[in-house]
Amino acid sequence: MNHLYSRRGWSVLAACTFLAALLPLLHLALPAGHPLHVSGYAMGLVGKFMCYALAALALDLVWGYTGILSLGHGLFFALGAYAHGMYLMRAIGRDGSYGSALPDFMVFLDWKDYPWYWAFTDHFWYCMLLVVLVPGLVAFVFGWFAFRSRIKGVYFSIITQALTYACMLLFFRNDTGFGGNNGFTDFKRILDFPITAPGTRTALYLATLALLVGALLLCRWIVRSKLGRVLQGVRDAESRLMFIGYDPLAFKLFVWTLSAVLCAIAGALYVPQVGIINPSEMSPANSIEMVVWVAIGGRGTLAGPILGAFAVNGLKSWFTAAFPDLWLFALGLLFILVTLFMRRGILGTLPALQRLLPVALRGKPAVREAKEEAA
């Protein structure tokens, strides 16, 4: 893990953050014809990728460091998105196509008033609280039952998949009160700022960047602490850890809930930038795709999943534009090849590749790096 804590690691992180923060400046300050101008589309794309990266980071915390493979993180992502979406729907006000105070889908269903769980959702900060609390609570309750009866490994994965699948079916129903198939879309404003204005988009972008970097630092701190050591103990030899006298339940539950909350925050940042949330975000396929970002970037590296999310989604954007029919082939092969030949992902394989290079080409001698870490 030397690359995480070395001086070089810090400088790469700082450089990436700086570059990412520069994008909106280039977008706002330069005229459209300028060679360095960044289009709103490109900035939106990077913003979306950062949301995915945050979700991947959250997943790495449970899978990479605690060995719990979740195939249901799409649920927490979508729950966060829906919680924020409720506010955004209320903020449309009477500008919907029916001109009613209710969202269009409720008018369509001939509902006269908001259901009880929509209460207070016109307050932004209450919804932000929901973004954290609802997925956190779902994760806590589910995790408590699952970890208490020591469900682990693939069983846990399969159950999380069933969970997100069941919730997807639930949200697809019109009567659930979240817009059925269409979900939430057509947002107009957030905190009274028009949602499509360049300034609002820049602010959302910067907020995403700040939260992503913040989450990375938080995760870094956690996995370095004693708590992180215990988590890795759970991953590597849970029964041994129990024999020493630790109860893994609390540790697993903590990291599981934290991961769900981070994922929900990613979802909440995703909605205003992409402008739509619907139940297909909860489909098992989406959750598995998240796992692939982590696997490709390198699990148990924190920076790797972020890299993986950018790489896979960048590839996806390019593929679906250039060869739409081939994308699923490419993604499928990526799954197979990474699991067969790159077990540790891009970042995990990097040191091994470095060692293959002739000594003169290596950046820093491995010995010096190890000393740095010790110091």
Partner: protein
């Protein structure tokens, strides 16, 4: 003025012969062209009651939108540019201004009922039986009673007589004659169908002035008793229907999950591509069906017989290929297997989409599978559901025989229980892994044949079954064939009994929730092997 006079004269001239040799009284036909919906429905019943072949022609034409009205109020049956006047039985060229009669759903329903009523008079027993059964469960009114009564009088077959007697009673409920109504209510007490419930209930309702709709108190009491009898019977039928459909759904789940019970249950491979193996089986069925249609159109109904081995073989081959190329490198790393097989499933899905297109393909039930057997009066059990249940039983029996009574099965069990020891005594473990995985995949292919007979065959077919299949295997307990069977049937039954209470989607959600809770209690499934290991 002159113009109108000419018209009237023309009408009179045309009507004269009609008055003498009318096959159907024009007064009966005329309301059909009118606007009054009640009169039109009434006219249909009256035309049918004549029981003549011409009545049949008129009603059929009504259903086929071939009935037209002329401005002078005649009703004609169109045949291309010729028109038959049912009132005269003569064919004439289509007159100017003849306008098609608009048929709404209510009129269409009435005409259909009347037509099947007419079929009651057909000379062949089968047609009469089919017609009588078709009328069961439909709403009848008093206008149809004469026709039914006529049919009952002529009928000789006792089975059809029973049905007809019931139908007559049903139609008589709306009669104006209290004696008839009473006889009908009493007759229905031991043979009523739920469709008559609203009519009986209407007899018990009160008018706005407080008096009963049905004046006769004895008749009301009889109606109440009949209602109770009908409710009892329909409750019993509902339970039996739920049981049957639950078993049927359970067999579908079982066929979908049985292959997984081998690959996941016995070998411990999380095969996310299992759903796609089902899909491959279904698409093989489609290909075999197309080949039969093209080369052996005479035997097209028997394509399933060839589709079974073909699907097994194709899915077996794909399974063996997967095991040799990808899965065998991942033994002992279940989570990675999960990801790799998910990748395989994406590739397979996209491959099918590229070859066959993204749309669903059409797989038809063979003729011998359509229709169903009627039990307990009104409960229809479709043949294709019964065939799937029988097929599931056969497949389970075959799998059990292979695993417990053959040398291959012995080796499979040996390798799964103690790989090293099996290797030491000379079992070729690598080959056994390959064959076991192939067997599981082949059974998935067979499941695909069954699924192709029930629903849409499309590239996403597998996706909709993968979660369910895993639930069945996990619920039943890993490595237990009996557990898988009971898990599948249990899930099917619970689903069918919850559906009427909560709706299809909510039932499914409830079941997933129940399974999630259940697994908390018994993480090893229903039939856990007892052991002392901590893991």
């Amino acid at each position: 003025m002159k113009h109108i006079l000419k018209h009237i004269l023309l009408v009179l001239a045309l009507c004269l012969p009609a008055l003498t040799q009318a096959a159907i009284d024009p007064a009966l036909l005329q309301p059909l062209a009118g606007d009054d919906p009640d009169a039109r429905v009434d006219a249909v019943a009256r035309i049918a009651a004549t029981g003549s072949a011409d009545a049949r022609t008129v009603l059929q034409a009504l259903l086929d939108d071939e009935l037209a009205a002329t401005p002078d109020g005649r009703v004609l049956v169109l045949h291309g540019d010729q028109a038959l006047d049912p009132a005269t039985g003569k064919t004439l060229p289509v007159p100017d201004g003849a306008d098609g009669i608009v048929v709404n759903n209510r009129l269409r329903g009435a005409a259909q009922a009347a037509l099947s009523g007419l079929a009651l008079l057909a000379p062949e027993t089968e047609r009469r039986l089919a017609a009588a059964q078709a009328l069961q469960g439909k709403e009848l009114d008093a206008a149809q009673a004469p026709l039914l009564r006529q049919a009952l009088q002529r009928e000789t077959d006792p089975g059809i007589r029973t049905i007809l007697a019931q139908l007559v009673a049903g139609a008589d409920l709306g009669s104006n004659d209290p004696a008839r109504r009473k006889a009908a209510v009493v007759a229905l007490a031991d043979s009523g169908t739920p469709a008559l419930r609203p009519q009986l209930q209407a007899m018990l309702a009160r008018n706005p002035d407080g008096g009963y709709v049905e004046g006769d108190a004895a008749l009301r009491a009889a109606a109440e008793a009949t209602l109770r009898a009908i409710d009892r019977r329909s409750a019993r039928n509902d339970i039996i229907a739920n049981l049957f459909y639950g078993v049927s759904l359970g067999s579908v789940l079982l066929l979908a999950a049985l292959g997984l019970a081998i690959t996941f249950g016995l070998m411990g491979i999380i095969n996310m591509a299992h759903g796609e193996l089902l899909m491959i089986g279904a698409y093989t069925t489609y290909v075999v069906q197309s080949l039969f249609r093209h080369y052996l159109p005479g035997a097209a109904d028997w394509y399933l017989v060839a589709a079974l081995p073909a699907s097994f073989a194709v899915a077996f081959a794909v399974g063996v290929l997967l095991e040799r190329s990808v899965i065998r490198w991942l033994y002992g790393r279940p989570l990675e297997t999960l990801l790799a097989t998910w990748g395989i499933s994406l590739v397979l899905m996209q491959a099918v989409r590229t070859i066959f297109g993204a749309q669903n393909v059409e797989v038809a039930n063979p003729a011998w599978m359509s229709g169903g057997v009627t039990v307990l009066g009104s409960l229809v059990l479709p043949y294709n559901r019964i065939a799937i249940i029988v097929f599931a039983v056969l497949v389970v029996a075959a799998v059990w025989l292979v695993l417990n009574r053959t040398r291959l099965g012995l080796f499979v069990r040996a390798v799964m229980q103690n790989r090293r020891m099996a290797d030491c005594v000379g079992v070729p473990t690598g080959r056994i892994d390959m064959l076991t995985f192939g067997l599981g995949s082949g059974i998935a292919g067979l499941g695909g044949v069954a699924l192709s007979q029930l629903g849409n065959v499309g590239p996403d077919l597998g996706q909709s079954y993968i979660v369910d299949s895993f639930m069945v295997v996990v619920l039943g307990g890993v490595g237990q064939l009996a557990g898988t069977v009971i898990g599948a049937l249990g899930l099917g039954e619970i689903n069918k009994f919850l559906e009427p209470l909560a709706g299809a989607v909510m039932a499914k959600i409830c079941i997933l929730a129940v399974i999630i809770i259940f697994i908390q209690r018994r993480p090893q499934g229903l039939f856990a092997l007892k052991g002392r290991s901590v893991e």
